[in-house]
């Protein structure tokens, strides 16, 4: 479904990504593991069209989407739930969610349906639907960000460290929600540092270090890999 071949990204003289190859098939849940600054967010931003690759190719459903503008990518069905949330701070929770469905703005009924689904997933958002997004706590904002991404009815959702700053209870919920989202037919590409939890729900994984992929395989294999246990799972 999604295929990155030999993608490199440069920021000025600094090479952030080096010859990345990633493949995600329809319905899969794939995790990207990597330390801080390894390049996970950069990969996402490159797929989203926020960064331009200096070389390599990106294909989605067999079509080259390299160089597409970010809004085109959303229309294609690739939606990112970014690190740092990037919410509309002064709009209400519900308005944020509605904006999430911007590309489907013509289908009013479908939007309503999606909104109900998101509220079912995150009841707290419904309680706070008229509050300004900026006034919510870190964790609540994270839920809103995911909810907003879901509103776009993505074929592929990319989640950048969704568990960051969340309470354990919520983290657990979050991972099961991700699993649920995946099961309901959305392909998921997940960036995580919490390798333990991520590998438990993922089908496959890639390990990124210093902007390059050093390891990849199915999640079981990765989970039992010594190097990974040492670096990402601890103990």
């Amino acid at each position: 479904m999604l295929k990155l071949s030999d993608v490199s990204v440069k920021f000025g003289a600094f090479t952030a990504l080096q010859n990345i190859d990633i493949e995600v098939s329809e319905g899969e849940l794939v995790v990207l593991l990597g330390a801080n600054g390894a390049g996970k967010s950069t990969i996402f931003n490159t797929i989203s069209g926020l960064n331009k690759p200096s070389s390599g190719n990106i294909q989605f459903n067999g079509k080259s989407v390299r160089g597409n503008s970010p809004d085109r990518m959303v229309k294609e069905g690739i939606v990112q739930c970014a690190e740092g949330k990037k919410l509309f701070a002064e709009m209400s929770v519900q308005e944020n969610l509605m904006m999430g469905g911007f590309v489907h703005r013509k289908q009013k009924a479908q939007l309503k349906q999606s909104l109900a689904e998101v509220y079912a997933l995150f009841p707290i958002l419904k309680d706070k639907k008229d509050d300004a997004a900026g006034s919510m706590s870190g964790g609540q904002q994270q839920m809103l960000a995911i909810g907003r991404a879901l509103m776009a009815k993505p074929k592929l959702i990319m989640m950048d460290e969704p568990s960051i700053g969340l309470a354990p209870l919520i983290v657990e919920q979050m991972f099961s929600i991700i699993q649920e989202i995946n099961k309901s037919g959305t392909t998921v590409l997940l960036a995580e540092q919490n390798a333990n939890a991520a590998l438990k729900i993922a089908d496959r994984g890639y390990v990124i270090e210093n902007g390059a992929i050093v390891l990849h395989g199915n999640s079981k294999a990765l989970f039992h890999n010594d190097a990974i246990r040492k670096a990402y799972i601890g103990a």
């Binding site: 990112q80 970014a82 509309f88 911007f102």
Partner: protein, 287 residues
């Protein structure tokens, strides 16, 4: 009492013009987070185009106004593309300086093309109606009517359509807007186009009351900033209230306090408001 109502009417006219200019400014201010000092130039050129189209092509006033709106909207879009978009990541002071560069350029250009003399714009709305001792020219009534209509339409657009909401969304988080599939460039251009169109409308309907001349943008822009600040930047309802406060306080201040000091009254008002509420009257609680 007659005088009071006359001045109230005058204040309404003035306020309507301030509102139209102020809303354009506040929208751009909200999106770019930068005061566009070149907004006065859009106003200026808007006035000239209406006048020159009327004179040159001999078309009806309304036709000229529509052409002017289109032209200024386009010009504003070009401004966004070639000046403000490249400066998106620069510190805010830079936009101000670039805007000043634009002001200097456009004023010189206008003087070069159409000379530096004052022009008067004559319109079909030149008759006077007197109601209960209050003299109203039809042009002045047109100013108020147009302002009301434009403001209502704009508010509907921003609040009731997703495209309009996307403008508000982008004002708050540009990257976030990208992520939900809003083409931020299109929105930025659209905002500038609206802002330019409003400036053109304001200039076209206010010029028959005043004159058309190269410095006419200066008069309005400073007051428009007062309107924007009183109303809170990016807030359309705020700009409406700000415009009315300013227009009416000016006309009543000139009547009951002093004409010489009436500008000071308006600006002192702003100083007092900002001293009490450092972010303007209608600043939002969050952030």
């Amino acid at each position: 009492m007659e005088l009071f109502f006359q001045q109230l009417f005058n204040g309404l006219t003035l306020g309507s013009v301030y509102i139209l200019v102020g809303i354009g400014l506040t929208l751009v201010f909200g999106i770019l987070h930068v005061p566009n000092f070149a907004h006065g130039s859009l106003y200026l050129i808007g006035g000239y185009i209406t006048l020159m189209v009327m004179k040159g092509l001999g078309v009806h006033y309304f036709v000229a106004v529509i052409l002017s709106i289109l032209a200024i909207a386009l010009l504003a879009v070009l401004m966004e593309r070639f000046v403000f978009n490249p400066l998106r990541d620069a510190p805010p002071i830079h936009d101000k300086i670039a805007a000043i560069g634009l002001v200097l350029f456009f004023e010189a250009l206008i003087s070069l093309i159409w000379g530096t003399e004052y022009h008067r714009m004559t319109t079909p709305f030149d008759s006077t109606i007197t109601v209960a001792g209050v003299a109203m020219t039809t042009q002045r009534m047109l100013v108020i009517v147009v302002a009301v209509v434009v403001v209502v339409l704009l508010q509907l657009f921003l609040k009731k359509t997703m495209i309009g909401a996307s403008i508000l969304a982008m004002a708050q988080n540009r990257d976030g807007a990208f992520l939900v599939g809003i083409n931020a460039n299109v929105v930025a251009m659209m905002t500038f186009a609206i802002s330019g169109a409003l400036a053109a409308i304001a200039a076209s309907i206010a010029s028959p009351i005043n004159l058309v001349f190269p410095a006419m943008g200066h008069l309005v822009i400073l007051k428009a900033f007062v309107v924007v600040i009183i109303g809170g930047m990016g807030s359309v309802p705020g700009a409406i209230i700000g415009g009315m406060i300013l227009g009416i306080s000016e006309s009543l201040g000139a009547t009951y306090i002093s004409n010489d000091y009436k500008d000071m009254i308006a600006f002192l008002l702003l100083i007092i408001i900002m001293t009490a509420r450092p972010k303007g009257l209608f600043a939002k609680g969050v952030y």
